[in-house]
Symmetry: C2
Subunit: 635 residues, 2 copies
């Protein structure tokens, strides 16, 4: 094998070519060449979603990961995991449909800073002296003494005690006890090492499950599905309404998410050959509504002013009580919530973004239908939630669509406003506009003078502006270019209004926190955007429309879907869990509903970028249209 | 009403008459007159088992207890509860068959010393400030702060959290929290007072359930049934064998007792109109095997040397985990066990007998198929268990029977050994001999010289001694006197041997503890006999045959079935529970199996009363037969 040469990898059926150094993985080549190939676990070798069929060429020997994860019948047909198979010469592979991310991006991974491994699960090997006629010590006392747990009392699960006498004798008075948070949840004959945990991120849209080896912190399984509660409504409010019908409805919706989680866990156990018994703890994050629907907390009051959370503190429930398919005696840790609309997922974001450790003032936003806005540093954090709406997910936008194949995801408009270039997902013919592109489009329309600071599409001088059925509209793609070939893809005046409302809500959330906390805009050092959708936003466009405050581009970063990251951090480390608790207890929450400052900032943020022009000097300098704004001050 | 006169009460159909002062209850008259009338709750007015039909005469007005407990159709026909209805003149009543104890005595009550009421269940009324837009505090934090439980952390049941938001609002931010041992198990809107507990005594033969009002310590319901596990075997060993077949068998036998308990609880709830929700704690006693079968602890090793208990410590399990029909979030407290054959019931006996508070050395024996022997005082307690066998329950005795109608329960034999007088249960014609009478018979045969100290029925000079099919036998009742009229009721040589073995085991248990503890026989101040059967034993007969050591008759007492008493004490008082724990931790247990001292004492105790004649000076002085004994000393 020659690792120094350059190898050419050809991907069928599209025929894309990519050149990498010998020793690189096929995945590396796919990433370099922009090939659509699933990379769910980030190339760690456990999701086995990146299978490719080797048509021609030599590859590294089949790895242990592949022996475990790739079905034998596929291995024998020459299928390999792209992240495992390394090249030493030219290779031709075929990417089967199942290995395409294509259709809909289901991003479940986010940035995850390393933590010191300090799980809540402890395995202790004990050697006991057998009872004698002279000293017929009871089995439990014998065991607890060996464990050194006699003094502090035995908080053990009934199932442990039920099998205790049998296990002690089966193991020849050598056993392994497993403790979760000091509670004895298992006893096994002999010496047993396996201890795994589950991190769960219950998003309103997506459900992600990760199995983590608690001995080294490695993810050994990760998978996501659409949140099966979607059948009760796509958004949080409609699910709360369904659940509020009564106990049975709430139980039905709880069972639905529980079943979804259990399905993913079962799949993970089957793939990894881990025993259910050895899954000892699960850490769950989600927004407050998802959290409550999962635990089964009555949500009748969650959507009602003053929007308090039902549960604010972190809790440890028992797997058996929640019907979760890990060890029935194991624990389910739910992270704390801050308020009805700032939940455990926001706490997870903070951990993953390390907001609570930042020296300088940092803005963290988790962009979604509700955008959680967190502003602060190690000295304290302010938070609020703002209803940014589903515009950025393509809803309420005339040609909007989710981020799927054929969605326009990037837009550029020339200085004169007449020539549009765009990029679609999977490079297919355009079928609509997804969230990142609608932000681009509005920013570009503003920059090129197609639209003024009030967000009005200007009537004259632009070829692509025309009168549509409900006001003026701007054509992004003429029907001839589109997948359907039947209709132009446009941005309507109404679409612009939707974007204005969404971005105004977000910015006003930030601005309200700035004013309440007494910080000055010059204090702001950094912006971090979380959320699956956020990863695709062009930071310059976001800044241009005033969705985020103006900081240098290199101080804007994207960390992806970090709710799951925070859950994994808390699963691996009691320190992270302690951080989560401390953050939740000290975080200052601002309820924006009927807050006059928010109202004022919202109205001003309807301007593009804002009526406070001095807050956006660089943007303002780059705009073509006349900047006519009116500052609104609430009496 | 005239309370000073004397009234005559006539009981039909037997026509027995009893005279009592005006104002006395019919029950008082029945007890005085020896009328067979059920008195299960001890006249407290909650069992409603003592219904009588009033034929003639005036009685006190129908009481509240009667309005609650006596079915209206019976009340209208003139049925009254004998313990409630008080007389002011002559009365004639009929005792229906259902109100007879007759058939089999199912004694569930025992002596119960008063305890300071300090239950583990606490109800706390809380008033909360509702959340506001300025302070939208989470419901759980709001609640825990009001409860003062924020600091110590919230060990609350998931069901409490599930309904928390709803209950807070239903109660207008005024709620009642219920804590069991500091764990929050319920939350109710407004102010709620009801808190009840259940005490359960799982005997090998009988199952007794008591519902106790934790606000005043009163028993509000008591009932007993045969232990439904009897279908898996009458004795402990056969049930252990059944359960040892495997997980399914053990689960089956566990379910059986659980169902039995739940049935009695349901009955109690229906009769008292208490809500299941308000039953917050249950305290369970039983011997170690019954305890383990109830919890579901593997019993595969319980019958095997060196006979350690599986669980020795007290535990609090959750009702939901054990499937017990109290509040599912409530607690099940199981008292500690000492060893495989000295269980939680022995600890309960100690509490009820106050053995752990005695100043002087006291012997406590719980007489049954296994007799638990406890010897000690407030400075320490020694214990052992001895296989006294079922002879005293009428088994292995040629004409033996359980204590039911027609059983001879008392026997006297004249000095010459020729005339027998006896008493039967319900004064029916004799059908057999029950335990108390077999002890009487052996004692009387010894006293009258029909038998020698070796237990051999002597061949000559006694009219009632004859050669039977398997050795000599003594006729207690000739067939003409019996219920069947077909066969004589006799005590055979073999019956005497069975009694010798049983009493030798019991005495040897005591004697072994005396020798191990280093006490002298003069130290022994008092003997207390517990156990349902024990109540009927004639203490003089027991002393005569050497079943118990020789102490003055006025220092021998009977406390009945005290396992349930101990359970109720621990339900009502954490102090009693603490006593139980301390006793179980400090009690010295002696395993008699293959103990040489026990073997020696056993052989010597086969003599009547014993080969150590100096231990029984008074008995020996009263005997007619030549006392030829041989002291056995093990080499």
């Amino acid at each position: 094998m020659n690792n120094d040469n350059e190898c050419e990898i050809r991907f069928l059926p599209e025929g894309k070519r990519s050149r990498v150094r010998g020793g690189s993985s096929i995945m590396a080549a796919a990433l370099k060449g922009g090939v659509d190939l699933a990379n769910i676990c980030g190339g760690k070798g456990f999701c086995a979603k990146c299978l490719v069929e080797v048509i021609e060429g030599e590859l590294s020997p089949v790895s242990e990961h592949e022996k475990k994860r790739v079905p034998p019948e596929k291995l024998s047909k020459g299928y390999r995991m792209a992240c495992q198979a390394r090249v030493s010469g030219n290779v031709v592979v075929r990417v089967p449909d199942q290995s395409r991310i294509g259709r809909q991006r289901l991003v479940i991974m986010g940035k995850e800073p390393p933590v010191r491994l300090r799980p809540n699960v402890l395995k202790v090997f004990c050697e006991l002296s057998p009872p004698t006629l002279e000293n017929p010590v009871a089995d439990d006392i014998n065991f607890l003494r060996a464990l050194g747990a006699m003094e502090r009392g035995a908080d053990a699960d009934v199932e442990v005690f039920r099998k205790l006498p049998k296990v002690l004798r089966e193991g020849g008075w050598k056993v392994t006890a497993t403790l979760v948070g000091g509670r004895i949840v298992n006893i096994q004959p002999g010496r047993e090492e396996g201890a795994y945990g589950v991190a769960v991120d219950i998003g309103t849209t997506k459900l992600a499950v990760f199995i983590v080896d608690l001995s080294d912190g490695n993810i050994v399984f990760a998978d996501g599905i659409m949140n099966p509660q979607i059948r009760f409504g796509e958004d949080v409010i409609s699910r709360l309404q369904y659940a509020s019908q009564g106990r049975a409805a709430q139980e039905e919706i709880r069972q639905t998410i529980t079943n979804g989680i259990n399905e993913l866990i079962s799949k993970g156990l089957a793939e990894t050959e881990i025993k259910q018994e050895d899954l000892y703890e699960m850490v769950v994050v989600g927004n407050t509504a998802m959290h409550h629907l999962f635990v089964g907390v009555d949500v009748g009051s969650l959507g009602l002013s003053p929007y308090p959370a039902g549960l604010g503190r972190p809790y440890d429930f028992r797997a058996r009580d929640l019907g979760i398919g890990i060890n029935p005696s194991g624990s389910i840790h739910v992270l704390p919530n801050v308020a009805g609309f700032v939940g455990a997922d926001a706490i997870a974001d903070i951990l993953a973004a390390k907001l609570h450790e930042k020296e300088r003032l940092t803005l963290l936003m988790d962009v979604g239908t509700n955008t959680e806005v967190m502003l602060g540093n190690r000295d304290g954090i302010w938070s609020c939630s703002t209803a940014s709406g589903p515009a950025f997910e393509g809803a309420h936008i005339s040609c909007g669509m989710r981020a799927a194949s054929g969605a326009i995801e990037k837009v550029k408009i020339t200085e004169d406003g007449d020539v549009v270039s765009y990029k679609t997902i999977d490079d297919e013919k355009p079928r609509g506009i997804c969230g990142s592109a609608i932000i681009d489009a509005v920013a570009e329309m503003l920059r090129s003078g197609v639209m003024n600071a009030s967000g009005s599409i200007l009537p004259d001088g632009h070829r692509r502006v025309r009168q549509g059925p409900s006001g003026r509209e701007y054509v992004l793609a003429y029907k001839e270019e589109t997948a359907s070939g039947r209709e132009d893809i446009v941005v309507t005046q109404n679409d612009v209004r939707e974007v204005q409302k969404a971005k105004a809500a977000m910015f006003a959330g930030y601005a309200t926190l700035m004013r309440k906390s007494g910080f000055h805009r010059n204090d702001l050092s950094e912006i971090i955007i979380a959320g699956a959708f956020g990863s695709y936003i062009d930071p310059e466009s976001a800044r241009t429309i005033g969705m985020i405050p103006e900081v240098p581009l290199d101080r804007i970063s994207f960390i992806g879907n970090t709710a799951g990251s925070g859950a994994r951090m808390c699963l691996k480390s009691l320190d992270a869990r302690e951080d989560a608790r401390r953050v939740s207890e000290s975080i200052k929450y601002v309820e924006l509903a009927s807050d006059p400052i928010f109202e004022e900032e919202y109205v001003n943020a309807m301007y593009l970028p804002n009526s406070a022009l001095d807050e956006f000097p660089e943007i303002v300098a780059g705009l073509k249209a006349p900047l006519v704004v009116k500052r609104y001050i609430r009496r």
